[in-house]
Symmetry: D2
Subunit: 256 residues, 4 copies
């Protein structure tokens, strides 16, 4: 049948602090987005994560962020010059490339972290700055985006290779945006239900809004969470349900 | 006659903080070692410094450090695993490569900052870890070292391209080490005198100890300070005295 | 005639980085707002600044901020829980109290830094959290506020001792807010003109809007900048003009 | 029979990162040493930890450190001026006092963290700086020290109130120092055995070296670990064994 990539944000430990269960998650996912030290991660964590990913046949990408360790890249920092943010990303992507090479691996893509991605989805100028950062470092890198957003539009405008990502455990609004977490029903807490949704999105090549609208989009990768309680179990269920439905799991960049 | 490179540690500002007079220094030196965000510098400062360096025809290199912003990489942090420090450097060098490319430039070399270099000069294992980090990221990068140290030995052992550096304003002990700053006479405060010493070292291809011993070493580059009061004036005097003596100033990697 | 306090934000150095000319400014102002390590400052800088302040007969206060060293507390970080920000302030004020005591001094007040103050001026909940933090640590501390703002209202509601502050070099809008910096005429660049405005505000007990409206407010203290080029000269001019007009300069808490 | 205090280092989370099981540990120990933001902890974590401690009738103290978040205060940073470290501690203790007050609690003592304590145990000047910091902030605060060290000597010299601490799960050398972790037998991994040792030390008022020597020392508090796997179980066993032997557990400052 079809095929899809399964990705998670990993390498988010820092110093003595451990976040998520990377060794387990790396046996489940096909792609890992690795934190680059600005919201989480440090060079040792990055190396360890990328080395483990290589050993597990998992593709890796840079998962850069605004500069905000204490806030984990989730604090809404507004008004920064997109041209400045562009440099933050160039730095992080370059660092990730070098660490990946040292770990005998290579990064295939970039996925922005936290509030940076959320803001870019609605801000064409910021999205363009992100796309430009990727292109500047290596125009062969994929850019992982939410479909139907300014991020996707910017990537297309700049001719970047694109990976469209959907969330198994989040619901969608009519415009294709995620339902904000504050709204009831935004998050699917039952892994079995999330898995069903993932299967359906892949098989139909579409996301489905809370009002039932079908929005056709390429579904290149499914995001699962790596740092919540029950993350390993939930990811396992999603993975199993996908393969049971004849969907092959492989890194989106596998044929690259 | 001969030729030599003139280098300074630049790009050591951070956020709103300004350190040194980079625009002026970049009109004087031929090579800049650019801080990489661990003891100083941030992606915006790195970009700005590297862009200015390119505009001035100044070569740039990575100037990585231990992780110590508050201590400016000068706090003596002992006992860290050299294999860990290796990853810190790989990260920083990779980041510097990417930012340099974004600024239309490229890094030619790596020079360690502060206490990291000092410790490596006497610690073969640490020096080897540094050399390995450079080789891992790009084996064509030069490694700037003090001659007659473990840093130089490690670079030779690993087959790295070498740049031997001398200090115009520091005196040398019998073993080729710098006289520790605590000892009177360690630092030459008169720029004219420092300039004379620089000229002599280049013309004779040797350093001269406080006891008068001549230690023949290749003199590839002369380090001048960029962040002290009077730095611009002192560097100008050294530069002028070198050229007056028929010594051509050019980046060590110019013929590369 | 009248009297007024002259304040500046000082102690904003960090590690090796120097910002502003604290020794000079401390000979001019009567009150210093000392950074507390979150946007600038560190314990050594705080101690040095407070000790110098004491030697110059200058009153000191805590100048706390959001947690944002790289952005110097100027990045607009929105959406943080006011109850969380309250704890950040309690921590910083407590630290400032202890360092002041160690320096043989004591803090008389709290003035929030950067974007935190700006946001609180229009956000009653945030302003209340700030006022509560001050009251929790020491209900005898003054709270330095801009008149006609939510900050002032919160301080009054909680029964805090209040210091109303005006800016010599900024113009005011009809509602008493500062003209945003983006608007032409927001900043008075001529120190002589700024000094005239300061004198008039003190003598008339009012601020004057760009449209000429007179808004009567208590003028307890005038803020001058400590970290811009020409800061010392501008502050000197303002100070001299005030005293020439018979206005006595003394810490607002002098009679305390 | 006798009585003793049981303490653990808690509040070592940071931002999104969780370390240790504070809610469980606070049901077991009688005193908590709370990280102050320099090696771990942040104002929110401090507040939460101190509030929980109050609710559980657990005494709290400041647990200050060198400035080293990434290294968790364990990196051996040598050569810093003790007079500078003194200011770092004053800042942290003051912050802890204020946060404790906000949480309806108060700090009873100071215990240094990680490498700072280890270094002070053998460095009279550093130990004196620490003791001076405590005395400067509040001379009624206790200073938790290892007996037979420079830390203890400094506290006595400055007339500080003293708490002597022993480790249930560490062995002692002839001079009263802990056996370094690198040496086999340094750590007692069996909680039952650690508990027996704790009981014996309390009942006999002495520590026992690996060679069998009995070193009489006041045993005011026993340190148990809060952040290792099995920490809760181990602490529970130690607590139970102490009470089974008729030893009353209460904060050392309870009678204060």
């Amino acid at each position: 049948m079809g095929q899809v990539d399964l990705n998670a944000d990993l390498g988010e430990s820092f110093g003595v602090y451990r976040l998520g269960n990377d060794p387990e998650m790396l046996r489940i996912v096909t792609t890992a987005n690795v934190a680059c030290g600005f919201h989480a991660g440090d060079p040792l964590v990055m190396f360890r994560t990328m080395e483990m990913a290589r050993e597990n046949g998992v593709a890796v990408g840079a998962h850069p962020s605004l500069m905000d360790l204490w806030g984990f890249g989730r604090r809404m920092i507004v008004g920064e010059d997109p041209a400045d943010i562009e440099k933050l990303l160039i730095y992080q992507i370059g660092a990730a490339q070098a660490v990946a090479a040292a770990a005998g691996h290579r990064i295939t893509h970039v996925k922005t972290h936290g509030v940076l991605g959320t803001m870019a989805n609605e801000d064409a100028e910021l999205a363009t700055a992100i796309a430009r950062a990727i292109r500047t470092v290596d125009r062969d890198l994929f850019y992982t985006v939410m479909p139907l957003t300014q991020s996707e539009a910017a990537a297309e405008r700049l001719g970047l290779r694109l990976v469209r990502e959907v969330y198994a455990d989040r619901t969608y609004q009519e415009n294709g945006n995620l339902t904000p977490r504050k709204i009831p029903g935004a998050v699917i807490h039952d892994p079995a239900q999330a898995a069903e949704r993932a299967v359906r999105m892949v098989l139909e090549g579409a996301i489905f809004t809370t009002e039932g609208t079908r929005l056709p989009v390429p579904v290149d990768t499914i995001c699962v969470h790596g740092d919540t309680p029950g993350a390993v179990e939930a990811a396992t269920i999603i993975r199993d349900r996908l393969t049971e439905n004849g969907i092959r799991l492989r890194p989106f960049a596998a044929a690259d």
